[in-house]
Amino acid sequence: MKPIIRFAAAACLAAGLTFTAQAAVGPGQQVVLDHFAQLAKQANPSFGGFSAARGKAFFLAREATGNADTPSCSTCHTADPRNEGQTTVGKAIAPMAVSRTPNRFTDLGKVEKWFLRNCDTVIGRQCTLQEKGDFITFMSSL
């Protein structure tokens, strides 16, 4: 096999793997992620991209700095975001994982509305661009 063909095959495989890993990030989520990435870069030139692993840690962290009834994102959304969640007053929440609820994180207005409310309620402050992007990246990776 000629090196050039071997390189092409490897590139195709790599592209395929990358595609598989990010299969859940639809064009809708990508628009929202790009928006946050652009703002993050403007604010911080050394911005290094979003991470699903950081998003997962953030999602599971027990901050307990907001409303005592909701110390963590997982209080309502459960530890596995592929599950249906429930608000503290019994209302069902569709799964956060994009694989289960494909239109999650596709409407920037809704995304900002819920980060505004829930970051305040759970951690008692607004989330950073990094946290928002990591969160969506995690939800898109499941």
């Binding site: 409303n67 009834d69 909701t70 429930q86 608000t87 503290t88 007053v89 019994g90 209302k91 207005g109 509305k113 505004l116 409310r117 829930n118 305040d120 309620t121």
Partner: protein
């Protein structure tokens, strides 16, 4: 039992039958015991059991009213002992009878004696009044039934008190009726309760017998059927009219979507305008959570809530929930009425998986979106799990 015994008993039994007088006809006996069942069911469901039994109460009350309607027809065209003309007397006859009872000279009546007939009239009138007041109460308070279209909550609530009073009077009358039957059974040495089952009484010399009037069963059946059909048709047609002061429009879709995202979208009629104003003025501190909305949506929802607040409706929920707890003025579950209405629900039910929170009305109330909260629409989840 051997054959000889049977042969000996037969003539005696035949002689008994011949000495008996048929007093209570079959329709009258069916009426009597059906009314006993209907009134007992209505009294138990109305005075003892919780309001969730309202459907059975309405069925029992409607049945009692229909039975009395048929009894009135039979009182006009039935046989002698059933006919009003043969036993409804004036107060003079009643007084004479009472005096004779005191003297010990009162004769025995095969049909109703004057005291008994006064009780029959009182019982029938009580059931009719209960049916009428019940329909007004149902219309005004529950916004159900034939008078819902024209009865205000306040009128319905007042008449409900009268309904309750008559129910207690009926209960007392039933006790007196039974006491009277036992008294007369003892006085005349005859089991009058049995007589209401088999219709027979021993015919004795000196009895006052009801006039021998021949019944008109076909005429009675036709009139009773027409009466019941006309009654049912009227009730059904009137019950279809929209209730007075009842919300008709479905919930605003933006309201249902935005507010219903975290909790059930509480019908705007469940809280007074002052509560909605205060809630919409501070959505970022919404019962411990941040529930901020963009200004345009918040303003739209504020207008919707104020245009449909409790003051605009005449339902039971709108009336009772507008009386707030001044110490906790925004919480529906803090209102005195909510507290009282739910006092018998164990805390474990609210904490269960199916309910989760006191504010999750629709876990038990199947009609939250209408704002009606009918007692008949309550279904507390069975086996509520912790």
């Amino acid at each position: 039992m051997n054959i000889a015994e049977v042969r000996i008993e037969q003539p005696a039994a035949r002689a008994d039958v011949q000495a008996d007088a048929k007093v209570w006809d079959i329709p009258l006996r069916i009426f009597h015991w059906s009314l006993v069942a209907a009134v007992a069911a209505a009294l138990v469901t109305g005075l003892v059991l919780p309001p969730t039994w309202i459907t059975l109460h309405l069925i029992a009350g409607t049945t009692a009213a229909a039975l009395v309607a048929v009894r009135v027809v039979w009182g006009l065209w039935g046989p002698g002992a059933a006919r009003f003309a043969s036993f409804v007397h004036g107060p003079r006859t009643l007084l004479i009878h009472c005096r004779e009872l005191a003297d010990g000279t009162a004769r025995r009546h095969l049909g109703h004696n004057p005291l008994g007939s006064a009780m029959i009239v009182a019982l029938l009138v009580a059931v009719v009044l209960l049916a009428l007041t019940g329909v007004v109460a149902q219309g005004g308070v529950l916004k159900m039934g034939p008078l819902a279209f024209m009865t205000t909550y306040d009128a319905g609530w007042t008449v409900r008190q009268v309904h309750k009073l008559i129910a207690y009077i009926l209960l007392g009358s039933v006790a007196l009726h039974i006491a009277g039957v036992l008294f007369e059974s003892r006085r005349s040495r005859e089991n009058l309760i049995r007589a209401m089952f088999d219709g027979r009484k021993a015919a004795r010399p000196g009895d006052i017998a009801p006039p021998p009037i021949v019944a008109r069963p076909v005429l009675s059946a036709v009139v009773a059927t027409l009466l019941l059909l006309a009654g049912a048709g009227t009730v059904d047609a009137l019950a279809r009219l929209p209730g007075l002061g009842v919300p008709r429009a479905p919930l605003d879709p933006v309201y249902a979507d935005e507010c219903g995202a975290c909790h059930i979208p509480f019908h705007p009629s469940l809280a007074p305008a002052a509560a909605w104003t205060a809630i919409m003025a501070d959505l970022s501190h919404h019962f411990g959570d941040n529930a901020e909305l963009d200004a345009a949506t918040a303003e739209r929802l504020r207008k919707y809530l104020l245009a449909n607040s409790a003051e605009h409706y005449d339902t039971l929920a709108a009336h009772r929930l507008r009386q707030i707890d001044p110490a906790d003025p925004l919480r529906i579950t803090a209102t005195p009425f909510w507290q009282r209405a739910h006092r018998r629900i164990p805390a474990s039910v609210f904490a269960s998986k199916q309910v989760v929170a006191r504010s999750n009305c629709s876990a038990c109330h199947q009609d939250t979106a209408s704002g009606l909260f009918e007692p008949s629409a309550i279904q507390i989840p069975e086996n509520a799990e912790p």
